[in-house]
């Protein structure tokens, strides 16, 4: 007992320093006039931000962008979840691919690939369509709100899918069957029974997408800023990068309102999901809900699935590959193919900044994920196995950063670290990453701990094993799947982190996503694509490799059907 109390309190201290401290610094910072006059209380920043005539337009843009993309993601997710769990659509393996692969394509690259396809001056698809239909100007412009909504909606689709699909899979089929018995067709049953019952999951998915849209920085910066369409997150970015003197006080003051909205929304999200994450989830093997036969509708519905998959995975990767090989952006054709070369690849491999960013991101991904997973094991142990008031408090502050938009918490960390020697060092990024993404590490670990029924430990004690032996031979081996999930999730998020890094990264501590953003701001599309493809390849090797390693430790075949991770990708 003594040992547990000590552990709980030291974790409380560590987690407070990681998650509570930056929030406090953000609040204090918003009342200060500059980084160097910290503590001189002033309302100046709030007044200047909230009386800015641009603000109303920005709020409007933000609302349309966030709600539009969340709605798009949720509707597409419902469609995919229904197709996968309830119909006889072919190639169901596609759904697994769709929910995992986007993890390996960083958001900033995804946004860039759409800019390459549909920008109004030389978008590849635009040029091609122009030629095909003899149009006088480009038919599409991605640098608009509808363009941003489309891309952000596609990016948030896997997240919404991973919430809605398990809910639809664990749905009691007899509720639907009884509706069929009482003379409702499959379509009527879907709208009268299935969707209303799934309302909590659907709302939870929608809210989570709203929060992610609010925090999104990649899409607004790559697709919004060229067309001067600003939302709150790029408004913050502008405050710290576009004026002569970076105004961190103003950024903090804007950040406060995003933070407040996010925390409010996450509270609502937790309300809707309060039951789904509490219980031991038993995979219902052999249980098959009734399958709706699509018959004639099969072909068109399958076509939609194929289109979504190619928009999400094939098109971005192909675009990057094509752009990395041609000397400048041109419509695909004989001329393009004859001028292809590895020139951009050579430039990138010899570019010292790109190499340094690759090295930094690799370090942050590997070391950060290792430290983050270790911390997650300890925190999850306390949350699940030590039931005390302190452990409950630890749970709430560990999940605090789940509602932090990266760029806002980055500003908070700026106010925090500028007073310490780690400012502008790689450790600033390291700590900020671990703090910001801690919930993503804890989540798979707690569900792994919950799955270890206490009688498995107790029977070990009864068999004469000490506490240490029980840990070594029973608990840790059973935790391996959870440890692997935590590590992979953290590593892939750290490896392509953008929104925290964009504030904290300094010359010498460049990271990949920031370097991609710089290339995009400079219009260096060829180098960007080459570096981006290297990034995707490394991330894929990392995820696949660790999963394969973890699979060797899997107990029997009992964990074949793992519960999909509810949270993913930032």
């Amino acid at each position: 007992m003594q040992r547990n109390t000590k552990l709980t309190w030291s974790l409380l201290l560590i987690v407070s320093l990681l998650t509570v401290a930056p929030v406090i610094m953000l609040i204090l910072g918003s009342f200060s006039s500059s980084l160097h006059s910290f503590g001189n209380f002033t309302f100046k920043k709030y007044i200047s931000v909230y009386s800015d005539p641009m603000l109303l337009g920005i709020l409007g843009n933000t609302a349309v962008f966030v709600l539009g993309s969340a709605a798009l993601a949720t509707v597409l997710a419902i469609y995919l979840a229904y197709m996968n769990n309830r119909t006889d659509i072919p190639f169901k393996v596609l759904f697994r691919v769709l929910s995992v692969v986007p993890m390996m394509i960083p958001h900033v690259l995804f946004a860039v690939s759409w800019a390459l396809l549909l920008n109004p001056s030389n978008g590849i698809l635009n040029m091609w369509l122009q030629k095909l239909f003899f149009l006088s100007k480009a038919p599409f412009n991605i640098y608009t709100i509808p363009g941003m909504v489309l891309v952000e909606g596609l990016l948030d689709l896997p997240v919404a899918y991973l919430i809605i699909s398990p809910a639809m899979a664990s749905f009691d089929a007899s509720l639907e069957e009884s509706s069929r018995v009482f003379k409702s067709g499959p379509v009527k049953t879907l709208f009268r029974i299935t969707l209303p019952i799934l309302k909590p999951a659907i709302l939870a998915a929608f809210i989570l997408c709203v929060v992610r849209g609010l925090a999104s920085f990649a899409v607004p910066s790559v697709l919004g800023m060229p067309g001067r369409v600003y939302v709150l997150s790029t408004f913050i970015y502008r405050a710290v990068t576009m004026s002569l003197i970076a105004d961190y006080g103003k950024a903090a003051a804007i950040g406060m309102s995003i933070l407040a909205i996010s925390i409010g929304l996450i509270y609502v999200y937790r309300y809707y999901t309060r039951y789904s994450d509490k219980f031991v989830t038993v995979s219902s093997r052999g249980f098959k809900p009734t399958v709706v036969e699509l018959r004639g509708a099969k072909a068109p519905l399958f076509a939609i699935l194929i289109i979504i998959s190619s928009l999400l995975i094939v098109l971005p990767v192909l675009t990057l590959l094509y752009t990395s090989l041609v000397p400048y952006i041109m419509a695909p054709g004989r001329e393009a193919f004859s001028s292809m070369s590895l020139r951009h690849w050579h430039t990138v491999i010899k570019d010292p900044v790109s190499l340094r960013s690759l090295k930094n991101s690799l370090f942050l991904g590997l070391a950060g994920a290792t430290v983050g997973s270790f911390l997650s094991i300890l925190i999850s142990y306390v949350i699940v196995k030590v039931k005390s008031r302190a452990s409950g408090f630890l749970e709430s502050i560990s999940f605090l950063s789940f509602s932090f938009p990266g760029i806002v918490i980055g500003i908070g960390f700026m106010w925090y670290f500028v007073r310490t020697p780690i400012y502008a060092s790689i450790w600033a990024l390291f700590l900020a990453y671990v703090a910001t993404y801690l919930p993503y590490g804890i989540r798979p670990m707690t569900s792994a701990f919950i799955q270890i029924h206490s009688s498995l430990e107790e029977s070990s004690l009864v068999s004469g094993a000490s506490f240490a032996t029980t840990m070594r031979r029973i608990v840790v081996p059973l935790l391996v799947p959870g440890i692997v999930s935590s590590w992979v999730l953290l590593a892939s998020m750290f490896f392509r982190e953008l929104s925290v890094s964009v504030v904290l990264s300094r010359p010498g501590t460049e990271v990949l996503a920031v370097q991609i953003l710089r290339f995009s701001e400079d219009g260096q599309w060829g180098r960007l694509s080459a570096l981006g493809l290297i990034m995707i390849a490394v991330a894929t090797i990392m995820v696949v490799g660790v999963n394969a390693l973890g699979a060797r430790f899997k107990p029997g075949e009992s964990r074949e059907k793992k519960k999909p991770k509810n949270w993913q990708a930032a």
Binding site: S455, E458, L461, V462, S463, G464, F553
Partner: protein, 365 residues
Amino acid sequence: MEIKIRGLKKHFFSEGKLIKALDGVNLDIKANKIFTLLGPSGCGKTTLLRCIVGLETPDEGEIQIGNTIVWSKDKKIYVPTEKRELGMVFQTYAIWPHMDVFNNVAYPLQNMKLPKDDIARRVAKVLDFVQLSGFEKRPSTRLSGGQQQRVALARALVAEPKVILFDEPLSNLDAKLREETRKELKTFLGELNITAVYVTHDRVEALALSDIIGVMNAGNIVEQGSPTKIYFDADHRFVADFIGRANIIPAKIYSQAGPYTEVDTPIGRFSCQKRSFDAKDELMLCIRPEFISFESPDNKGDEGDNLNRVTGQIKQMIFVGEVFETEIRIGDTGLMAKLDPETKYKEGDKLVLAVKPGHCLLVSK
């Protein structure tokens, strides 16, 4: 080994309410017998078992296993679970999913740091005993419920403990398998010289398996005795009611002079098992449905046989397979009885009920 429990108390707070899981339990469990703790859920039986094995710490009292005190509040003794050298079969079996059958069963021996070939020999022996020879390399996730149960038993027995504990080990099996496994378990335990403490809420299981049953209610042992004593001759109304189906009728003493205690009830005067009560005691007459026999109204049988006889009318007959569960009205009182499936009686018929005095049990209210 004998288990002695003195003044054991364990209180919980749940949702602001104090729950007395163990309310001063005193209990002696005799060596090499199968002792069953029987009671409704929440009566404290599992808490008592977990205190014996050391997974739960009592608030007060003392537990002695053999000659060793394993827990005592006053003497400040606490022997941790892993040092108590007991065997236990968990309700969920707690078979470790990441180990094969051999490693699950060998685990207690591995903790004793025995030589490898010794372990192999003993595991083979115990697997043979539970009829799982050849299953050594089977991953434990590929076992049926009954096989998991036997692996759990093998693991509990392999270190040859003097005491083995069972926490509702059959409750996760389906009805047919439960019956088979119960028989098996009875055979296994009969062949061993071991003290077994068995927790269950299933009265049939308790009656079938035990040498001695202790019936628990609200944190106390209400009564203990052999299965027949508990079934036929319970001292407490709670026990009589819990151990089987019973018709319970209020009764008042008429006479205690003769060889039987005679009582007055709403359905007439009954001669009952001899037991001494205070004349003013409010009593309950307890008659099990299976001990009510029937005579037709015209042929009343031998009047000199001391049987209690009352006339009633069949209100309802429900066919459940081996019998008709029958409700018989006698005035305002309804009695449950069992009729032979090939009976000639039908609903609405009048008949005479006959009960031997030995099957009329009087318990205090």
